[in-house]
Structures are given as structure tokens and as C-alpha cells.
Symmetry: C2
């Protein structure tokens, strides 16, 4: 996980003073987030230019950062207008030359991250009292329109040229794979034949046709556009239950210490074992007094355990995804005092109506979803000294397997809290306990009703852990399980886990990650897209792509 | 669509006297369907042997045939026991050598067909009063277990060796892609960690462990197995509302006339235009008096229009899928008297509680689902003389686009019937009208309430068709739309259609075709599976597969 200067080592941390591509202005309760991509500041500057507000992962990392800051640093912001500073261009979508020159794994993880960022906007709208409006002031194509689709409303300028469109199929031989197809028919409920037509148009649609097809909410003449945008943004802001004024809490850099294959944050430590292709990720419980009231959370700022530990975990997961593709298994451990975690849980639960506590819970929820959606195997190991209680127990429930040492002499327990009962739903809308016990729903209540610590054999009986070997078997059983995992085809594991983790209902969110993403990944490998004469490779050069027209 | 002797030209028609792999016996209300695969009778006999009751497409075509015959020819059958005649082997799943030597497109379409056949068993259980029990008398692995999973219940012999398992991930580097992963966690609701463990075991599970994990419903000692199976089968049969005695109706061969690129059945005609890469598929309305009562349907047998036309359409679709991969677009037309279709609809609706009418409706429903799930673009063309009414109108509603000629002089109308209101739900449980009007649900009722024929401009206003050009524009607009479609990347179209056709809820069925299938297709292309040193290619040979361990 060592950071180097090579552009393949992605750093997900940034801050407003470093932004290259976005301008944030705040006027009363409305923030305007304007895209103004610096075409020379791509992640691999020599390889492509980010023309026409096209984006690469770096642009999206800034977007994710500014959204996180709006949540925490600007409680007075109640609505966000997403627009562009480039004349006649809103956003041209993901940069095609970047896609054409990226590895399959990078493309897939880039799309996954952008999906998570866009779903984060919808999460802000649904849970944080921050509505989004896209003020589309020009061409809005592909990933640009997918960004607009993630907003609550889309206003399009009616200037005769501004349009929205998903030209991936006709231009690039791939899908609008960042939620586009799903949001068109499932969120905006566009009629399927209109969606089909729309998704085959290079030029997109504009004016009345865009409104009639439900592709945008309104079109406004150029002369009245700014006024219309401001008015509607203020109406959206008026719906919010966020505080009228700040202060919020500032998010300071995490600054992990990277030392070879070891990364150390305040509460999270990661150690990579390259031979075993695994990363041991350990999360510590709070070791200092933690906030018990909303005001104390505010005063603690970004240094409270709940904020700090989950920002760190999120950062570690993202680094592993992008920078360590060969590390197939993540071994999750926790250490410290479980009572300290339960005390934080009690505070989060007691003050959940407070805006900041809500944001902290949301940060944890989104980080846990990041685990669910990470295509690595997660094995949780519960050993004496662990802190798998309440919120941290969710990490075990998110894991593909949980091993708990049934030690004859040393206490080794887990414990549930109210936070396991609904604070952290998965993408499918169910809690991890509900998904786990789909076949025996009564076990959910039983587990939540249990008062106090649960030892290994009781946890096994309750179905909360996969295996509870004693101290004589522990080392061998865990070692063999990890060795076996490391030997399997990583692709089969990715597909297997993507299917087994999401039993139960599907939502727009799971459809985006399951159905749409899987198809896009498939297409991203096809010669018709990425072969020598594929559409992604020939884009912008002379000559047309050559397709093998066999249907699959 | 010409049939040749080459094994790549797949013929989906068969009959009991030709079966190589299945033995059907009927005892009272219980049918026993025993797998006894003839290892020398694979579809490409020189290339692989179907050892250990492993199967290829030919084995599944027989299974689909016998299931269809049980529905129609044997109304007295109320429960089916699926078992094997091979000692100590139930079924070893899809033949690996067959998979290793098949093209990507063939593998994908093979899996799709087997999925449809297994879902057909669940359809029989849910809608036809025919329950299924797997009597697992030996090793039951991979696709074999997926077949058992499609049954209502699984009984496993407890002989110390018989087991159920999904060894694809550890053995082959691919997924149990015929519904296995989905059915384990969504149908049988196996806990996700147990499912994860199970899906990584080469040897599967047996005995008590198989029951405790919910992988089977019961284990029975060898000495009591036959008795236990018979008893439980009779209990399942007792739940049925099927007739106590026959007769049913016999399904005779369709015997289409194949002449070059033209195939002609009684009511369905297909004409391939290779240059345009399209097939014009025309379905005729009844042209002779049709049954109006349940008894008349029985007397008409398989020659009634409803049975005959949809058996033909189903056969044509399957041939196109497997034998004509380059034909990317299917142009759907209907001809004849729409009133004749509406009369059939009235009879089907009036007598829907009759077992045979129920089967006929089910045949139509399953054929329409086959359209939804066919990875070709469907364009319906509605011209004067068309018969797009009621049941046939569903074909237009299943199409990606519908063009309707707004002719100034010639009448050109469509018409709805009660059958559009719920007789033919899609895989997601909604009718095609409901999916179409997800964004304007009131339009469903409006369309159904409309009495009588609807002309082109009214159909356009009602949102029932995509475009209604007049006679001056018709030829050009249709031609250009078809030309544009034919030029797109076939892979992008496959992914796009798979996403746009299924707005709304997801079910186990759509999860199998959307999430699971898409991931399996992805894996089926990966070098770790199908590369020179991939797991599918090295299986059974010396040496282990060599994996690129990068995770995606």
C-alpha cells in the first residue's frame, strides 16, 4: 500500500485548496458546484487531455470529497446546484482516451467508485436533507448525463444546442454503465421504447422532446435560465431539515503512515502479506472518552472515533481496491474495549435526529456498503481482545465468513447494539442481520433482544458466526480457509460474492451494481469494445470500429 | 435457418421415441423422470463423452420436451420425481469438456436455455399443479444440483457418499451459473456464509449437514429411500388441482419447411436477410374456426391456433438464438383477422380455470418471456392487415420498438383484450403494460378500458407505440431505424436491452437472468476460465490452472 509517484498509486484524499476541476460557491442555503475540468490535470497527464469537461478518476475523487465536506462542513447548505463553468458544455462524460488506455480492472473500479459517488448524492437527498439539481447549461452526454440523473431534478437550458444523451452504445460500443440505463427506466421511469431510442442517439435529445420523454424535468430559455435555476434551488432548499447556520466540523487530512506494506492510521491498520495475497485490516475501538451528546460530537469534530475510524476504513478500502488488485482477501479484526464501541452506539442512537449524528451514521453506513461492494473476500476473525460489538459487529456481518475462537480460558465475546437493528441497511434496503437470516427471520429479533456479551458457542448456535474452533484447531482452520480462498480463481470469487452477498429484494442501487455493472464489465472485455479494432480503441481516430456481429 | 447435418445446427424438436437420456415412467399421479445419459450420444459425439450423467444441450432439449409433454399429454400427472438410473450418481452437471470446447456465444445460450427449462419446472409448480421432487440417489454436483434446486423439495439418500455440491468455483473457475447461487440464497434462503462455504467445496455436503444448512429438505437411509420418496411424492401429488384422469392432448412434430433462408410453419414464417442481419418473423392470426370451450380446446388438440402458433414461435426463437448468431434484429409482424385473435382470447379468458386452457396460456406466457430474454433487438411493425390484438399485441409490447403506419386510406389498428391485463406477466411479475407505463400507471387502466380498435395516432397518444409515421415516411423511417440498429455493437445492444427491458421489481427469476447470468457471462470470457491455462481448459488434464490473481 506504499504510495509512490506513479499515477497508478491512487490517493483518495484531497481538499478544496487542491481541487483542479470543481468550484464550490455557497450562497445562503444553496451551494453551487461547478465543473470546470482542467484538461491538463488528468491522473495520467501525458496520456490524455480532459477536454470538454470529460472526467477521469481524479475528477470524481474531488467530487466525492466536496460532497463529503458539504455534508460535514456546511450544515447550512440545503440544496446543491450542479452545473458547469464551460460555455455550452455541461459534461462530456468519462474521458474516452482514458478508458481506452486503462486496464480492465481499472475501468471496472473507476466505474464502481463513480457509481458510489452518484449514489452518495441520492443518499444525501434521501437521508441528509440536501437536494440536488442539475443545471444543464450545455451538452450533457454519457457520464455527464449519468451525473445529472443522480440529481433530484434536471433543468436544461433551451438554447437550441444544449442536450442530454447517452451515446455510449452508438459511439463507443459500451454501456452507459454508471447507473445511466437503470436510472432512466427505474428512477425517471422513462418508457422503455423511448429509453431504447434515446440510448441509441449520438446527439441526445433537447427542448420539449427531452421534457416529454421525462429525460429532464424542465427546459428554460437561456435568458431565464439562471433565474429559474436559482428559484427552483431555493424551493428545494426550503424542504430541508438541516440547521439554518453552522458551524459544521472540518475534515482534516487522515495522513496515514505508510511503511512498505504497512499502513497505519489512528484507528485502522493495514498489513499486506503479498505471498498470501491478503491484507490484515484491524480496526481499534475508542481508547479515549467519546462524545455522548450532539454538542460533544460537534466539539470533537473529525477527531471523534466514529468519524475518524470510518473515514480511515473507507480510505483503506479504496486504496486496496485501486492500488492492490492482487490482494484478494481482507482479514478483518477489531481490538480494544467493546464497551467503548457500545457507548458510542448509545450516543449515536440517542441523538440520531441531530444533523451531525445523522451524518456520522451515514458515513458509517456508506463505508459498510463499500465493504459489501468491494470485490475482495472478507474474512472476519474474532479473537480474545476483540471489539466486535454493535457498529463494529456490522463489519463481521458484512464479511463472507466469520471465525470466532472458542477459547477455554480467555473470554471472547461479541455483542449487539440497537445500531444493528436498522441504522446501517445494505444497498438492498435490508439490514445485514435480515439478509443473514432471510430463512429464519425470527433469529433477527432473537439476536437483537439478547442482552450482553455472547460467547463463541452461543454465537455459533445463534447463527452469528460461521465457525467457532477451539484454541487447538483455530490456527489450522483459519490458515487452511485463507489458503484455500487464495487459490481460487479471483474472477469466480468476484462473481460468487456479488451474488451471495445480496439475497433478498433488489433496489435501484443493487440493480446498478448487480445487473448493470455486470453487463458493463462483460462488455468492457469484449473485442468489439476493447479489441484492436473495437469501438473504444478506434474512437476519435480515423476509421470506424470493426464489429464481430455475432450476438451472444 | 436451414438445417444441416452439422452439430451446430441445433434442432429443438424431439419426442419420447427419440430420447437418449431420460426415462419417463408414470405410476398413478406420480411421474418419475430418470436421468440416464447415454455418454456416446452427445451433440458433438466425437468431442466429448457424457460421463456420469453430465449433460449438454441435447440432454436439456429432451428434458424441456418431456416437461412440455407432461403438461399437455399427461393431465393425470400431479407430481414429478426427478432421479437418476445411474448407481451412486444423480448428475455431475454440465459436461466440462463440452463447455471447454464451446464458443462463448454457445455457452451463454446453452446456460440461458437450461435456465429457462429449470424456471419452467418452477412455473409448473406455481401455476400448473405439478410439484417436483428431486430424489438424489448419489453425487449431485454443479448443474446437477441446480436441477435439484429447481424442484420444490430435495430428498437425499444417506448412504455415506451421496452429496450435493456446487464445485464450479474451486474446480472450474466459473460460477454455478444456471440459477445455482441465486436459488441457494434466495429460494432456499441458505445463510450467506454457509452458502459461501458450500460454493467453495469440491466435495459438497451430505447427511445431516446438508439438511441443517437447508441444502436439502431431508436425508433418508438407503433402505428406506425409495419408500420415503414415493410417500412424499404422493403427498405432493395430493396438493394438485389437475384432473384425476386424461386424456390430454398430444404434441405432434411441427415439421417446418426449411428452404434456404426461409422457414415456414403453419402460422409462423421466418425470412432471414443476411445482408441486413435481420429476420422477418410473421405470425398469422387464426384462419379457421377456433375452440370456444374447454372441451373444444381438448378436441382440437395441438392443432388449435393458440397451441400451434406459440409452439412454432418458440421453436423459431430457439433456432434463431442458437443457429443464427449473426442475425441481430427480429422484425415482428402479424397478419390476418384480429377479431379471430380476440375470439381466442375471449375463450382463453372465459375458461382459464380449465387445466388445458391454463396450460395453453402458460405456453403463451413462457414463449413471450422467451422473447423478453432473447438477446436480439425486436422491432414490431404494425401495418394494414395486421393482427396485433390481445395476445398477439403482447408481442409488440415485448418489442424494443413498435412502429405503426398511420395510413391515410387504409385502416390500421391495434386492440387490447383482457389477456393484456395479467395473463402474461414478465419475469419480474409485472405485465408488459405495467412495465411500459411504470412512470404513468394510470395509462395501464386507460389502455385496458379502451373498447374497440385503436388507430395509429391514438396508439401514439396512448403511448402504446414508439412512432406512427405516415405512408410517405414509413419506408424511410423503418429502413433507417433497422439500418442504424444493425450497425451498433451487438454486445452493447445485448447489455442495453437486458437493462432497459426489465424496469421495476426484480424477482428470483430476473436475478438469475440479470445478475447471475451477467456475471457468469463475464467470467466465461476471462482468461482465468477460458484462456490457454484457464480452469475450464485444464480441467481433467495434467497440471493445474494458472491464474492471474488480479481482482476486478
Amino acid at each position: 500500500m506504499e504510495q509512490t509517484a506513479t499515477p497508478l498509486q491512487v490517493n483518495f484524499e484531497t481538499s478544496p485548496d487542491q481541487y483542479q476541476h470543481w468550484k464550490l460557491t455557497i450562497d445562503g442555503h444553496v451551494a453551487t458546484l461547478a465543473m470546470d475540468v482542467n484538461e491538463d490535470a488528468g491522473m495520467r497527464p501525458g496520456d490524455y487531455k480532459l477536454k470538454l469537461n470529460s472526467y477521469d478518476l481524479g475528477v470524481d475523487i474531488e467530487l466525492a470529497d466536496v460532497l463529503q465536506r458539504l455534508r460535514f462542513e456546511h450544515p447550512e447548505v440545503h440544496a446543491v446546484v450542479l452545473t458547469s463553468l464551460k460555455p455550452r458544455i455541461f459534461c462530456a462524460g468519462a474521458n474516452i482516451y482514458m478508458l481506452g488506455t486503462s486496464s480492465h480492472a481499472f475501468k471496472v473500479n473507476f466505474c464502481k467508485f463513480t457509481n458510489e459517488t452518484r449514489l452518495g448524492m441520492e443518499d444525501m437527498s434521501a437521508h441528509s436533507g440536501i437536494k440536488f439539481m442539475a443545471a444543464v447549461n450545455g451538452i450533457c452526454a454519457g457520464g455527464g448525463y449519468e451525473l445529472a440523473l443522480a440529481c433530484d431534478e434536471i433543468l436544461l437550458v433551451d438554447d437550441g444546442t444544449a442536450s442530454v444523451g447517452l451515446p455510449e452504445t452508438p459511439l463507443l460500443g459500451v454501456l452507459p454503465g454508471t447507473g445511466g440505463l437503470t436510472r432512466v427506466v427505474d428512477k425517471r421511469k422513462v418508457r422503455r421504447d423511448l429509453a431504447d431510442d434515446f440510448s441509441t442517439l449520438v446527439e441526445g435529445v433537447r427542448g420539449k422532446r427531452a421534457v416529454e420523454g421525462r429525460f429532464v424535468d424542465a427546459v428554460i430559455p437561456t435568458s431565464k435560465f439562471q433565474e429559474g435555476v436559482t428559484k427552483r434551488a431555493q424551493e428545494l432548499a426550503a424542504l430541508s431539515d438541516r440547521p439554518k447556520t453552522g458551524p459544521g466540523i472540518s475534515l482534516s487530512p487522515l495522513m496515514p503512515v505508510v511503511d512498505g506494506d504497512r499502513i497505519r492510521y489512528r484507528y485502522v491498520t493495514g498489513v499486506i502479506d503479498r505471498e498470501k495475497r491478503l491484507c490484515e485490516l484491524t480496526i481499534s475501538a475508542p481508547d479515549t472518552p467519546q462524545p455522548a451528546t450532539a454538542n460533544e460530537f460537534l466539539r470533537a469534530g473529525d477527531q471523534s472515533w466514529a468519524v475518524r475510524a470510518f473515514r480511515e476504513l473507507d480510505d483503506a478500502l479504496l486504496r486496496l481496491r485501486l492500488n492492490e488488485p492482487e490482494i484478494g482477501t481482507i482479514v478483518l479484526r477489531t481490538t480494544g474495549d467493546p464497551k467503548a464501541v457500545l457507548a458510542v452506539d448509545a450516543a449515536l442512537d440517542a441523538h440520531k435526529s441531530d444533523w451531525l449524528v445523522r451524518e456520522i451514521t451515514s458515513l458509517i453506513r456508506r463505508t459498510l456498503k463499500r465493504v459489501d461492494l468491494t470485490s475482495r473476500s472478507f474474512f472476519a476473525l474474532i479473537e480474545p481482545g476483540n471489539a466486535f460489538a454493535g457498529t463494529l459487529l456490522e463489519l463481521a456481518l458484512a464479511a463472507d465468513r466469520v471465525y470466532m475462537l472458542d477459547h477455554p480460558d480467555q473470554a471472547n465475546t461479541i455483542e449487539l447494539s440497537a445500531m444493528n437493528g436498522g441504522a446501517y441497511p445494505m444497498s438492498n434496503g435490508l439490514t445485514r442481520l435480515q439478509v443473514r437470516f432471510l430463512g429464519e427471520p425470527e433469529s433477527v429479533g432473537k439476536a437483537l433482544d439478547h442482552d450482553g456479551p455472547i460467547d463463541a458457542s452461543s454465537a455459533l448456535d445463534a447463527g452469528l458466526v460461521f465457525s467457532a474452533p477451539d484454541d487447538l484447531d483455530w490456527d489450522d482452520e483459519v490458515r487452511m480457509a485463507l489458503e484455500a480462498r487464495a487459490a481460487f480463481s479471483p474472477d469466480a470469487l468476484t462473481g460468487m460474492e456479488a451474488n451471495l452477498r445480496f439475497a433478498g429484494p433488489e433496489t435501484m442501487e443493487t440493480k446498478i451494481f448487480g445487473r448493470l455493472t455486470a453487463w458493463q464489465n462483460w462488455i468492457f472485455q469484449r473485442p468489439n469494445a476493447v479489441g484492436e479494432h473495437g469501438a473504444l480503441m478506434t474512437y476519435g481516430r480515423e476509421g470506424r470500429p470493426t464489429f464481430d456481429f455475432n450476438r451472444t
